[in-house]
């Protein structure tokens, strides 16, 4: 009876290992089928860290002639546009979809 119990414990251990292995295998397959690679996970940017403000080290856009591009308010000859009304956000930084 003692031997029987020890064999039962061995079988249950094998069963647990098989379950965990199957779960890991199926999770990996599901992630792969969903297009998520475990090796690419560290290279993904963490959510909520990306700043909506531009990087200060990046210089403002420069026209091919070498002069800086005027802002929409500066280019408005009539001056009817109040500041901030047509400064549409750059899609690159529009993280909130506004």
């Amino acid at each position: 009876m003692k031997q029987l119990r020890s064999r039962f414990r061995l079988i249950s251990l094998l069963l647990v290992c098989a379950f965990l292995l199957a779960a890991a295998l199926c999770t990996g397959t599901a992630l792969k089928a969903a297009g998520i690679s475990l090796t690419s996970l560290p290279s993904l940017p963490p959510l909520g860290i990306s700043s909506p403000t531009p990087d200060p080290s990046v210089s403002p856009s420069v026209s091919p002639g070498g002069e800086p591009t005027p802002s929409p308010v500066e280019s408005d000859p009539t001056g009817s546009l109040p500041p901030g009304t047509d400064n549409t956000p750059d899609p690159e930084y529009n993280v909130f979809g506004l």
Binding site: M1, Q3, L4, R5, R7, F8, R9, I11, S12, L15, V16, A18, F19, A22, A23, L25, C26, T27, T29, A30, A33, A34
Partner: protein
């Protein structure tokens, strides 16, 4: 039972009841269907009734019972968002299943090892397995119920008369299952039978010969009928993944409405994450069975409870690997997540057998305590 021991069990039962209520309440609130509200009230109430009154009356093992009933409620919930009528029908299917569970519990409490019980259960089990061969028009799947009876026969022979005689019903069942074309159940039974022989007999020669015969049978079958070894022709993995990790309300057109397996429905409605956690519930259920097996006083009850724990656990494992295309087997249903009434009844009958053995163990412990008290 003191308060410290009962507290985690009650918390577990409470969590299962709450979750089973939420599984129906969420779709009920979304669709406003009265039947779903009714199920949200009745299913947890039925579970509560079974886990308290019936468990007390029949001395059933509460953890195994709660897990089995929760899995049954998941089977009902798989239908709930898209087809409330089918959910009600599935709930009604669980009532005869519960009766089968009680029959199994009472049977195991009173049954002991004898040649008569071994021969009669082997005869009945083999008759059920060969029903499809004897009467081709007979379409009721009785194979799982037959295997439950054959477990009794094999356990009786393994515990009393040696494993030589136990090989006869074991291999007869395997041959009948292969002849009937039920390759999945044949594989599950073959593996369970080999593990039981390993545990109960342990002689190298017997294990090796049993293993060789099983492998030869499957090899011969694969040579004769190679087309039977094909992956599951059910919902593809990409369809399950397209529903997302949290599920969807709209079922894809390729989901067959009459499919017996409810796992694709469950994962499509509630998401792959929830379905994955559901699969992990089979592990504590089988470990509970192993615990009951190791607590048994007699080899007969120990071997039966081990077999009853192994069959659903291996079936769940095979179903999981088959869904993901790792096993070349036809459609395998997860235990309790099936719309087939005979299969559901057979699975709950096996849980009833486990509960009956647990009740017998508790009665033995109470008798020991009584004797110890008298000796003082």
């Amino acid at each position: 039972m003191n308060r410290k021991q009962s507290s985690p069990r009650f918390r577990f039962a409470f969590a299962a009841l709450l979750l089973s209520a939420l599984l129906f309440l969420l779709p009920a609130v979304r669709s406003g269907d009265r039947r779903l509200y009714l199920l949200a009230a009745l299913v947890p109430a039925f579970m509560l009734l079974c886990c308290t009154v019936l468990a007390r009356l029949f001395s059933l093992d509460r953890m195994a019972l709660t897990l089995a009933l929760f899995l049954c409620s998941l089977g009902i919930a798989a239908f709930a968002p898209a087809d409330p009528d089918a959910a009600v029908a599935q709930a009604l299917r669980c009532i005869p299943g519960m009766a089968a569970l009680l029959i199994g519990a009472v049977l195991m409490r009173s049954l002991s090892t004898s040649m008569l019980s071994a021969v009669s259960s082997a005869f009945l089990g083999l008759l059920m397995l060969s029903a499809k061969l004897l009467v081709p028009a007979f379409s009721v799947p009785l194979a799982e119920a037959g295997l439950a009876l054959l477990l009794v026969s094999v356990a009786s022979l393994l515990s009393g008369r040696g494993s030589g005689l136990a090989l006869i019903p074991g291999f007869a069942a395997l041959i009948l299952l292969l002849t009937g074309g039920d390759i999945t159940l044949a594989a599950l039974w073959g593996l369970t039978f080999l593990l039981l022989i390993f545990a109960a007999d342990g002689r190298f020669l017997v294990i090796l010969s049993a293993f060789c015969v099983t492998v030869l049978l499957f090899f011969g079958y694969s040579r004769l009928f190679p087309s039977d070894f094909h992956p599951a022709d059910t919902v593809s993995l990409n369809t399950l993944i397209s529903a997302g990790w949290t599920g969807t309300d709209i079922l894809p057109g390729e989901l067959p409405s009459a499919a017996a397996s409810l796992f694709p429905r469950l994962s499509l409605h509630f998401g792959l994450l929830f379905a994955g956690l559901t699969v992990l519930l089979f592990l504590p259920l089988s470990l509970r069975g192993v615990f009951i097996a190791t607590s048994s006083r007699t080899r007969f009850h120990a071997v039966i409870s081990m077999g009853v724990s192994l069959l659903p656990a291996l079936q769940a494992l095979a179903a999981l690997l088959s869904v993901f295309g790792f096993l070349p087997l036809p459609e395998v249903c997860f235990p309790f997540l099936t719309s087939s009434l005979p299969d559901l009844c057979a699975e709950l009958f096996m849980i009833g057998m486990l509960c009956g053995i647990s009740a017998r163990n508790e009665a033995d412990l109470a008798e020991d305590a009584h004797l110890a008290m008298l000796a003082k």
